[in-house]
C-alpha cells in the first residue's frame, strides 16, 4: 500500500543523501549536484503533499505543485550561474576543489 508517507519518507531519505553529499564533497560540481538532489527531495515532498490535499480547496491543493515549478525554475537558474562561476574559477586556478580554493581563513 503506497501512502503519502511513502513519498515523504522517500523525500526525507533523498534529502539526507543530498545533504551528506553537500557536506562531505570537495569538488564544487559535486556539491552542486548534491544540492540538486536536495531540491528534488523537496519537490517530491511538495508534490506528495499537494496530492494528499485532494480534499482541500481548489487553490490550496495545487499549491505544492506550483511551488515545485518555481523551485525547478530557480534551480535551473542557479545551476547556470554556478557553472559559469565554476568555469571562471577553473580558468584562473585550474582547480574547482573548494578545499584548495582557500585563500582565506575560516
Amino acid at each position: 500500500m503506497v501512502t503519502l508517507n511513502s513519498f515523504l519518507v522517500l523525500g526525507a531519505i533523498l534529502f539526507c543523501i543530498g545533504l551528506f553529499g553537500a557536506l562531505s564533497k570537495r569538488n564544487a560540481v559535486a556539491i552542486l549536484m548534491s544540492i540538486e538532489i536536495m531540491l528534488n527531495a523537496v519537490n517530491i515532498t511538495l508534490v506528495g503533499y499537494s496530492s494528499a490535499f485532494m480534499g482541500h480547496t481548489h487553490g490550496e491543493r495545487l499549491t505544492g505543485q506550483i511551488f515545485a515549478i518555481f523551485i525547478i525554475t530557480v534551480a535551473a537558474a542557479e545551476a547556470a550561474v554556478a557553472l559559469a562561476m565554476i568555469i571562471a574559477i577553473y580558468r584562473r586556478r585550474s582547480t574547482i576543489d573548494i578545499g584548495e580554493i582557500n585563500l582565506m581563513r575560516w
Binding site: 536536495m38 515532498t45 503533499y49 554556478a82
Partner: protein, 564 residues
C-alpha cells in the same frame, strides 16, 4: 470550478501597492538598456540613472506611507504594510549609498561589466524588497533567490581578483545549500498546514481553530518544519553556528557591494524571519523561542570574541556584523511587540552605521584590496583627518556609546528584552557590547594615538612612507597571501620588475602606480560620490542618535502588525 472563466485581473490598486518594487525593476531594466548606448568613458551616468531610480522608489515608499492602505496585493502574496515599507526604506537607503560608492570603486578596480553591475545592484535590492514585503512562503523564496543570485554575481564580478571569485563561489555554495534547507522547512510547513500563505498559517494555529492541536501536542512534523526554517534563516542572517561564510564573503566581495549587502540581506532576512516566526508561527512561540534564545547568546558571544582577534578592519567589520545579528536575535527570542519595534530600530541604526563603516574601508583600501589592517589605520588622524573623524564617529556608534545611533538601537532592544522577561539575554548583550567596545575603540586608538609603523603586516606601509615605486603592485600572489606579508618588505623593491604581467589588473595597477607613485598614501582620494555617501551616513548616524523620534515612531507603527 475547472471551467471557471478567468475572472481575476490584477487591479490598479494591486500594482500601486508594489510601486517601489516596480520602480526599482524599471530602473534596473533601464540601466541594462542604457548600458548599450553609453560609451565606455561615461559609464558614471549609469550610477546617476540608478540613483534617480532609487530616489523615485523612495518617493514611492513615501507616497505609500502616507496614502497606502496596508493591504495585501495579488491575492495575499505581498503586502504594503508599514513593516514592508520600513524595510523598503532601509534597503533603498543601503543600495543608494552602495551606488554612490560604486563609481569610485569601479574606476579603481577591474570591474569591466559596469552596466550589469549597476543592473544587478538594483535587482538585488528588488529581491530584498520583495522578500521583506512577501506574505507568502513562495514569494519569500522567489525574492530570496532573486537577491541571492544577484549577490553571487556581484561578489564575483571582479573577474581578475581571485578573492572576489572565491567569495562568489563560497557564497553560492553555502547560500544555495541554506536555501535547500529553508525550502524543505517550507515544504513541511505547507504539509502541516495545507497552505503557503503566512496569514493562512497564522489562521491555522489560531486558538480553537483546530482543537486537536491543543490536545495532541504537535507532531514532530511541525517541529521539523520550524527547525529547518530556523536553520535556513540562521544561515541567511549569519547567526552562529551558521556564520562560516560571512567573513570570507564580506572581505572578498567588492567593498561597495559588501556595504550594501551586509545590511540589505540582514534587513530582508530578519523581516522575513519575523514574518514567518513572530507572525505566522506566533502561536507556537514556546517551541521556537528557546532555540533562538540559544542562537542569540552563541551569536553575541562568538561574534564579539572572534572580532576581538581580528587585525584587518574589513574582516573585523564582518565579525561585528555577526555580533550585531546576535543583538537582533535577542529581539526575536524576546518575541514581544515592543521587542519587534526594537529590532526594527536596531536594523535602521545598524544600516546607517554599517554602510558608513564599509565606506571608510572602501576609502582606505588600496587597489589590490589590501591596506585595511590595523597597522594601516595607525596615525590616520594625521594623514587624513576627515576620514579618521568619520570613522571615529561611526565606530563610537557601533560600540554603542551614547548619544549615537548604535546606543539607541541597543537601548531599545535590551530594554525590550528586560521588559519581556529576558534579563539574561539583556545582561549577556550588554556584557558583550562592552567587549565589543574594546575592538572598536582599538581602531580609534590606532587612528589617533599611534604613529604609522615602518614594519607593517599589510605588505605596504613601508613602501608607502618611503615612496618606493611599485609598492602598490606588491599584492602577494594569491597563493601566498598569508606568507607574503612577512617577506613583502624584503622583496617589495625587487619584485616589481621581475614579476611578469599576468593579468590586466596588475597592468592596471602598474599604470596607477606610475601616475601616483610619490603620493604619501597609497589610497586614492575620495570621489564625490563617496564623500556624499560618507557624509550622509555620518550625519544620519549622529542624527539618529540625537533625535531618534521619527524612526522610533515608524518602527512602532510597523511593529503594530504583531499586535493585531
Amino acid at each position: 470550478m475547472l471551467n471557471t472563466p478567468f475572472t481575476y485581473m490584477p487591479t490598479g490598486a494591486d500594482w500601486l501597492r508594489i510601486l517601489p518594487e516596480l520602480i526599482v525593476f524599471g530602473a534596473a531594466l533601464l540601466v541594462l538598456l542604457a548600458d548599450l548606448f553609453i560609451p565606455n568613458g561615461r559609464k558614471g551616468w549609469l550610477a546617476m540613472v540608478c540613483l534617480l531610480g532609487v530616489i523615485a522608489a523612495l518617493i514611492g515608499v513615501g507616497y505609500l506611507l502616507s496614502n497606502g492602505d496596508s493591504q495585501t496585493a495579488f491575492y495575499g502574496m505581498i503586502s504594503d504594510d508599514t513593516l514592508a515599507l520600513f524595510s523598503d526604506l532601509l534597503i533603498l537607503f543601503a543600495v543608494g549609498i552602495g551606488l554612490l560608492y560604486s563609481p569610485g570603486y569601479i574606476e579603481r578596480h577591474a570591474v569591466t561589466r559596469i552596466g550589469e553591475y549597476y543592473g544587478l545592484m538594483l535587482l538585488a535590492a528588488l529581491g530584498m524588497m520583495l522578500m521583506a514585503s512577501a506574505t507568502n512562503l513562495m514569494l519569500i523564496f522567489v525574492g530570496l533567490e532573486a537577491l541571492s543570485l544577484s549577490l553571487y554575481i556581484l561578489c564575483a564580478i571582479e573577474l581578475t581578483r581571485f578573492r572576489s571569485q572565491e567569495a562568489g563561489m563560497k557564497y553560492f555554495i553555502l547560500s544555495s545549500f541554506a536555501s535547500a534547507i529553508l525550502l524543505y522547512g517550507m515544504a513541511m510547513l505547507y504539509g502541516s498546514t495545507g497552505t503557503t500563505s503566512l496569514s493562512g498559517v497564522q489562521a491555522f494555529f489560531a486558538p480553537g481553530r483546530h482543537p486537536f492541536l491543543a490536545t495532541s501536542g504537535y507532531g514532530p512534523l511541525l517541529l521539523a518544519a520550524m527547525g529547518l526554517l530556523g536553520v535556513g534563516f540562521c544561515f541567511k542572517v549569519s547567526a552562529i553556528p551558521f556564520q562560516a561564510w560571512t567573513p570570507d564573503v564580506y572581505v572578498g566581495a567588492p567593498t561597495s557591494v559588501t556595504a550594501f549587502m551586509s545590511v540589505g540581506t540582514k534587513v530582508a532576512a530578519f523581516v522575513a524571519l519575523s514574518r514567518v516566526f513572530l507572525l505566522a508561527l506566533g502561536a507556537q512561540s514556546d517551541k521556537w523561542e528557546p532555540v533562538f534564545w540559544i542562537v542569540a547568546i552563541l551569536t553575541m558571544l562568538g561574534g564579539n570574541l572572534m572580532a576581538v582577534v581580528q587585525r584587518d578592519v574589513k574582516r573585523l567589520l564582518a565579525y561585528s556584523s555577526i555580533a550585531n545579528a546576535g543583538y537582533m536575535l535577542v529581539a526575536i527570542a524576546t518575541n514581544t511587540q515592543h521587542a519587534f519595534s526594537g529590532l526594527l530600530i536596531f536594523l535602521a541604526t545598524y544600516t546607517v552605521m554599517n554602510v558608513g563603516a564599509f565606506g571608510i574601508v572602501l576609502a582606505l583600501e588600496r587597489n589590490d584590496g589590501q591596506g585595511t589592517t590595523l597597522d594601516d589605520f595607525a596615525g590616520l588622524a594625521k594623514r587624513r583627518p576627515g576620514v579618521a573623524a568619520a570613522m571615529a564617529i561611526i565606530l563610537f556608534a557601533l560600540a554603542g556609546v551614547p548619544p549615537s545611533a548604535g546606543f539607541v538601537g541597543k537601548y531599545y532592544v535590551f530594554q525590550a528584552a528586560i521588559v519581556g522577561n529576558h534579563i539574561d539575554l539583556a545582561v549577556i548583550g550588554i556584557l558583550t557590547s562592552v567587549l565589543g567596545m574594546y575592538y572598536y575603540l582599538r581602531v580609534i586608538w590606532a587612528m589617533y594615538f599611534t604613529e604609522p609603523r615602518n614594519v607593517s603586516g599589510g605588505a605596504g606601509a613601508i613602501a608607502a612612507t618611503t615612496g618606493m615605486a611599485g609598492e602598490d603592485e606588491g599584492e602577494p600572489e594569491p597563493a601566498d597571501a598569508a606568507s607574503g606579508a612577512s617577506v613583502a618588505p624584503v622583496r617589495a623593491g625587487t619584485a616589481t620588475l621581475a614579476r611578469p604581467v599576468t593579468s590586466r589588473r596588475s597592468a592596471n595597477s602598474r599604470t596607477v602606480v606610475a601616475t601616483q607613485a610619490p603620493a604619501e598614501s597609497a589610497a586614492p582620494p575620495l570621489t564625490l560620490g563617496t564623500t556624499v555617501a560618507l557624509t550622509l551616513a555620518v550625519v544620519l548616524t549622529v542624527a539618529l542618535g540625537l533625535i531618534p523620534g521619527p524612526i522610533v515612531m515608524l518602527a512602532e507603527q510597523a511593529a503594530r502588525l504583531l499586535g493585531q
